[in-house]
């Protein structure tokens, strides 16, 4: 991967994960051999159709839902768009309000903003300093005009995990649908659609070892939403487009593997805690996100007097892949809306680093990250005109 043979630590698993070799292995026979169109009547098609339904059943088993409740999409973003736009358009005229949070992924936020422009009322619920949703505000806002409550299960930047069952109950009391963006959660923590009690749940393969470009939306039996993509009637008439069988098989395989390895997440959480401890030993730093209710791999720390991008670039040079926040924000200069929502001053929001660990990381990785980050922060502070220590 690197030009030279230097140490390389990938600690940006929230942005994307390497495709698991087992997943590539599961996909290869589909590429080479089982490339039929599942809608075709002939043997090539029937074989593909059987493989498709086997994969759907496997995935549904891991997610705790019926195979008929699982719809494959092209990514987490599509799932988020479909769930929210689909619910909003289905309720148009009757229920015109959408409730979400201030710490959603852009796939949800931009969707809500688009609906706002079309005339829907959108309410963005706040969070406390740890990133937990303000349930009182939610209770006050959910009413009989609310079409959907869309809350992220585990935040992609700060890792905070929300009490989704409770949120779903609040939504349901008012007759509203409850959707959760579980893109960061699936693969990292056990996610059971039925137990959570939500009506819809989105996930994306590339966050747990499947490739980028495959996602799914769980839609509880009986829940009616509008289609986002109309056409030939694939996915039981709800998401058209010839099915991406290799990736669907890959996603199912990756889910199985994630389930098998869920026990190992305790080790990952221990690495996370050691990393947090080490980073907080650097002066003028603070942890972002909930101290315990957080994803096992997520570490988000702000360092005063330095800026995030330059830290990421230096860490990269030192062999560590990390990020300033969500990957997509690499194109934006605005400070993270999530960090602002938890009350971080703008200056501090500019100086935050996210490490997201996986099974593949080791204790040595963590110690190296701590040492490297300390070096980088010191180096950048030395050239910072606002660092009082200088």
């Amino acid at each position: 991967m690197q030009e030279n043979n230097k140490r390389r630590i990938y600690a940006d698993n929230a942005a994307t994960t390497p495709v698991l070799p087992e997943v590539v292995e599961a996909m290869l026979p589909i590429f080479y051999d089982n490339w039929g169109n599942p809608s075709s009547l002939h043997e090539e098609g029937r074989r593909a159709a059987r493989t498709l339904e086997t994969a759907r059943a496997t995935a549904a088993g891991v997610l705790g839902c019926q195979p008929e409740e699982l719809y494959f999409t092209s990514c987490g973003t599509e799932s988020d768009n479909w769930a929210i736009k689909g619910a909003a358009y289905a309720a148009k005229g009757r229920r015109n309000k959408i409730i979400t949070s201030k710490i959603e992924h852009h796939a949800v936020l931009s969707t809500c903003e688009a609906l706002e422009k079309e005339g829907f009322e959108v309410k963005y619920i706040g969070v406390d300093q740890d990133g937990l949703l303000d349930l009182d505000e939610l209770r006050r806002e959910v009413d009989d005009k609310t079409a959907i409550v869309a809350i992220i299960l585990a935040n992609n930047e700060i890792g905070t995990i929300q009490p989704i069952s409770e949120i779903a109950e609040i939504a349901h009391k008012a007759g509203a649908l409850c959707f959760t963006d579980a893109v960061q959660a699936v693969g990292s923590i056990p996610v059971d659609a039925k137990e959570l009690g939500v009506d819809m749940l989105s996930l994306s393969g590339h966050k747990f070892g499947a490739p980028k470009g495959i996602g799914a939306l769980y839609i509880k039996k009986g829940v009616r939403i509008k289609n986002l993509i109309d056409g030939g009637g694939h996915e039981r008439g709800r998401r058209s487009g010839t099915e991406n069988l290799p990736y669907i098989v890959g996603l199912a395989r990756a889910l199985e593997i994630a389930q098998e390895r869920m026990g190992d997440m305790r080790r990952v959480a221990a690495l996370r805690d050691r990393l947090i401890e080490g980073l907080l030993s650097i002066p003028h730093s603070r942890l972002n996100g909930h101290p315990t209710k957080r994803l096992p791999g997520n570490v988000n720390v702000s360092f005063e007097y330095v800026e995030g991008e330059s830290m990421v670039l230096w860490l990269d040079k030192m062999g560590i892949a990390a990020s300033t926040g969500s990957a997509c924000s690499s194109k934006s200069l605005d400070p993270s809306h999530v960090l602002l929502a938890i009350g971080l001053p703008v200056e501090m929001a500019h100086g935050s680093l996210r490490f997201s660990l996986s099974h593949a990381n080791t204790e040595e990785d963590v110690e190296y990250i701590i040492a490297a980050t300390r070096e980088v922060v010191e180096k950048l502070r030395r050239m910072s005109p606002i660092y009082p220590g200088a």
């Binding site: 007097y305 330095v306 800026e307 995030g308 991008e309 330059s310 670039l313 230096w314 040079k317 690499s330 194109k331 934006s332 200069l333 605005d334 400070p335 703008v346 200056e347 500019h350 050239m383 910072s384 005109p385 606002i386 660092y387 200088a390």
Partner: protein, 145 residues
């Protein structure tokens, strides 16, 4: 968003980092809220030549690289020549910048000018140029349409 090799070189090995304790002019532009601040120090000899220049910058890779390049471009130049420095020249010398990072080059140009303005002020010379009134954040918003 991909930086050119030149940008990466100036980011990783910034030229002229530091402070000049007895500087003849010091200029600071930017705002920590916007994610970048540049502070420039110039030492001007009696022929009006910028003999030395140093900077300190809080900011992204492009902020550091443009600061570094701007100092290189004005070092050894006369004040008049230094005033002709444009952000485009900084961008060109760096072999390009991603569109969202162009504002850093503007900031670097302004930091040089702010240091010169300070030098003029200290000498009681009237300024024949104006400093931008925009904060970096406003520029940001201007750029987005």
């Amino acid at each position: 968003m991909v930086y050119s090799e030149k940008v990466m070189d100036h980011f990783m090995n910034p030229r002229n980092v530091g402070e000049i304790p007895d500087a003849d002019g010091v200029g600071t532009v930017g705002n920590p809220k916007c994610g970048d601040i540049m502070k420039m120090f110039i030492k001007v000899n009696d022929k009006g030549i910028i003999e030395d220049v140093k900077f300190k910058t809080f900011g992204c890779g492009a902020a550091i690289a443009t600061s570094s390049m701007a100092t290189e471009l004005v070092k050894g130049k006369s004040i008049e020549e230094a005033l002709k420095l444009t952000n485009a020249a900084v961008v060109e010398a760096l072999e390009g910048l991603p569109p969202v990072k162009i504002h850093c080059s503007v900031l670097a140009e302004e930091a040089i000018k702010a240091a010169i303005a300070d030098y003029y002020k200290r000498r009681g010379i009237e300024m024949n140029f104006t400093l931008s009134e925009h904060s970096c954040c406003e520029r940001e918003c201007d750029r987005k349409k």
